[in-house]
């Protein structure tokens, strides 16, 4: 009887080198899965620049590098707006711009208390976005979205009286600039000075509406600077996980006061952050009113269908300083010239008058004259209106009995109550006793 020869299969006891190459071989055959996401980018051009702090003799300044030579692209035709709507949006943008010019004049005449904030270069973003909201939906404006306040139904005199701290201002003199709102008709949440705080609040508005049986779109804004705050994350994450109809415009205007976007975040496009929240993100040219409207409209429709939040990054540049006192000398001149060629009002005017021929010369002049007349009347009204009586500082910190009747805006919630009776659980649930 001979011993059966044991044949060891190669697989059972590989030598060290063999093992390494086999594992490496297997890895090569099954590489790690790559996730792919798409963020639609509707821009007709992509600016790629780098901003660096460089020493220039005795001073340190910002230097911009990159190709800034391209001419302004054409306006992308809207998928949704008709001629009349385009002209309406254009009118809001002009009113926005001219109102701010009037505010600047008032400031120079010494009639404004405190500073003035401008949305110069951002009028398309403010106006075209707010235009997509329905009257019973809500807006939370930031400091440079004064155009959106006009779209929602506030008048230039309201904003002027805010800046001049008049008794007849929407806050009766108690707060400044765009820090006002309206819970009754215009459905605007008043901002506070700290950034990002509107985001969870608007999410909560959508939550309240949903509990009352209605999916609404709610819209708010945040800047490339403001989005750095923790509350921005908390609010947007809450909206995402709760699937609330929050339309968030991230206005990347390249500057947070004197700090460039490059020093606020490392990603190329803020819209990429949408991936982190699990929501759709989209990039638009913030100086193109049609692109802004289309993105806003689609996001609002998603919200109304109960499909949750959308993050829209609108790219543009802030064309004045942080506020009127800030000359923004830190902005490199070539960058300023590049964006000056992309003025949203000039672009839209050219589109309406020359390209689409929707606005004849006389109609255009009539439109401008109407705006000028409105602003003059509002300015005179605001200047003539009185300052508040000193004693009006008192009162109103609390809602006293009879001062407000709180009712659900969209309808009494249709609640379904289960059969469970009240719990009598008494044992402690935590380690603390």
């Amino acid at each position: 009887m001979g011993m059966a020869k044991k044949t060891k299969s190669k697989a059972s006891r590989p030598r060290a080198t063999e093992k390494a190459s086999r594992n490496g071989h297997q890895s090569a055959r099954t590489p790690a899965q790559q996730r792919t996401y798409t963020i639609p980018d509707y821009r007709l051009e992509k600016l790629s620049i780098e901003l660096r702090q460089v020493r220039d003799g005795d001073t340190v300044r910002y230097e911009v590098s990159g190709d800034l030579s391209a001419p302004a692209p054409p306006i992308r035709d809207s998928k949704y707006l008709n001629k009349q709507q385009c002209i309406e949006i254009y009118r809001w943008m002009l009113l926005n711009r001219k109102m701010e010019a009037a505010l600047e004049n008032l400031y120079k005449q010494g009639k404004v208390v405190g500073g003035v904030y401008f949305g110069l270069g951002q009028e398309a973003c403010s106006c075209a976005s707010a235009y997509a909201l329905k009257p019973d939906e809500w807006l939370g404006p930031m400091i440079r979205n004064q155009g959106s306040l006009l779209v929602r139904g506030f008048s230039p005199r309201d904003i002027m009286m805010q800046y001049m701290a008049k008794a007849g201002s929407p806050t009766k003199g108690r707060d400044a600039s765009s820090h006002f709102g309206d819970i009754q008709e215009r459905n605007v949440v008043a901002p506070i000075s700290t950034l990002g705080d509107l985001i969870p609040v608007l999410a909560g508005v959508a939550l309240g509406a949903r509990m009352q049986g209605k999916n609404i779109a709610v819209m708010t804004y945040i800047g490339d600077g403001g989005q750095s705050t923790g509350v921005t994350y908390e609010g947007l994450n809450f909206a995402a996980v709760q699937n609330l109809g929050l339309v968030l415009f991230v206005e990347n205007n390249l500057w947070g006061y004197s700090t460039p976007a490059d020093m606020q975040f490392r990603v190329e496009d803020l819209a990429e952050r949408a991936i982190a929240y699990g929501i759709p993100g989209v990039i638009v040219d913030g100086t193109d009113a049609c692109q802004v409207y289309d993105a806003a409209h689609e996001a609002c429709e998603r919200a109304r269908r109960g499909e949750g939040p959308t993050l829209i990054e609108a790219k543009m540049m802030r064309m004045k300083g942080h506020a009127i006192h800030d000359a923004a000398e830190y902005v490199p001149k070539p960058l300023f010239e590049y964006w000056k060629k992309r003025d949203p009002i000039a672009r839209f005017e050219n589109y309406l008058v020359n390209v689409k021929k929707w606005l004849a010369r006389e109609e255009h002049e009539k439109l401008i004259a109407g705006i000028d007349a409105q602003l003059e009347a509002d300015r005179d009204f605001a200047v003539a209106s009185p300052m508040p009586e000193p004693e009006t500082a008192v009162g109103g910190a609390y809602c006293e009995p009879g001062c407000h009747e709180i009712k659900p805006k969209y309808g009494v919630p249709n609640v379904k109550t289960g059969k469970r009776g009240i719990s009598h659980r008494a044992e402690s649930a935590v380690h603390l006793k």
Partner: protein, 324 residues
């Protein structure tokens, strides 16, 4: 009538308000499926559904902000903080967004922010705090600190019905340690009203929350020596019941203010100033403060015992002041 603990009384109060008003809802961490870390909302999700009992991410700023947003549409949210020590995480939303809303732009914020606070449970610096004064300091907020099960139910109901933002501090030491007969009916205890927990003629102890029971125990002890303490339970810290404070001073002429909160910036300073303004002539002795130390809450039991005012401290100080 049922005998309920302080915690069960709060539970019954919120439950009743959710039954009677479909705009009331609960929002917070682990309040739904888990019924809350302390089980205050145990069973709520079964009864009222996940639409009205919302489990949130760990995001206190978002919890408060969203509660405020919902309130703007006419809802009445009850937002839970798992421990009131975490209220710092939402400080900006509470003090800047919510507290100033009615004054600035006429928007009422009918929200209740509630949660467990206080020590004597070996919780250490982040599970034992008394953060109430940060919010007493903010005009536009109301701050409530019940000491009894009866008041806890009545005050949570009143807070939910109030059109103002109310910060409702539930003392966790009292959650299961005190029981009382609680009427099953719809009663409220008004905000802004103190309560005389014990009448006396020799000295007033002005206090709130768990320290009310410390004061009552001290009062029992001193009564056997012939000293009769009056104990005034503030119940609401903002707005303070100035009349009740003056009245008790006029009755006894001697005041000891007792609180578990740290000394500096605790409400004793505020109450003392009010007495100075409104009842100075009734004083027969200096106002004495008996408070915790000016330190974070220490963890180790012997340290925490030293940190907190004890019955023996109250007895000692009351004897001294009575004989002034």
């Amino acid at each position: 009538m049922a005998t309920l603990t302080y915690l069960e009384a709060i539970r019954q109060g919120i439950w009743e308000e959710m039954e009677r008003d479909p705009t009331v809802f609960c929002i917070g961490e682990d309040i739904g499926m888990y019924g809350g870390a302390f089980k205050v909302t145990d069973g709520f999700i079964d009864r009222f559904g996940s639409e009205r009992v919302i489990d949130t991410p760990i995001a206190e700023s978002a919890i408060v902000g969203a509660a405020f947003g919902a309130a703007l549409t006419g809802m009445r949210p009850v937002a839970e903080f798992q421990f009131m020590d975490f209220i710092g995480c939402a400080f900006n939303q509470i003090t800047n967004m919510v507290a100033k809303a009615h004054y600035r732009w006429g928007a009422p914020a009918p929200i209740v922010i509630r949660g467990p606070s206080g020590g004597n449970v070996h919780g250490g610096p982040f599970h034992s705090q008394n953060p109430e004064m940060y919010f007493v300091h903010a005009p536009g907020l109301k701050v409530v600190c019940p000491a009894t099960a009866y008041d806890a139910k009545g005050l949570i109901k009143a807070s939910i019905r109030d059109n103002n933002p109310v910060i409702f501090f539930e003392h966790k030491y009292l959650y299961r340690r005190i029981k009382e007969d609680i009427p099953a009916d719809d009663y409220v205890v008004p905000l802004g009203q103190a309560r005389v927990a014990r009448s006396g003629r020799d000295l007033s102890i002005i206090t709130y929350a768990a320290m009310v029971h410390v004061a009552l125990e001290a009062a029992e002890q001193l009564s056997r020596e012939g000293i009769e303490l009056e104990v005034l339970d503030l119940r609401t810290l903002s707005p303070l019941d100035r009349d009740a404070i003056s009245d008790t001073v006029r009755r006894t002429n001697k005041v000891l203010i007792l609180h578990e909160d740290v000394r500096t910036g605790g409400i004793a300073g505020e109450v003392a100033a009010i007495i100075n303004e409104e009842a100075f002539d009734s004083l027969d002795g200096p106002i004495v403060r008996l408070t915790a130390l000016d330190t974070p809450v220490p963890f180790s039991p012997p340290q925490e015992e030293f940190f907190l005012p004890q019955v023996s401290d109250v007895v000692r100080e009351a004897r001294k002041l009575v004989s002034y």
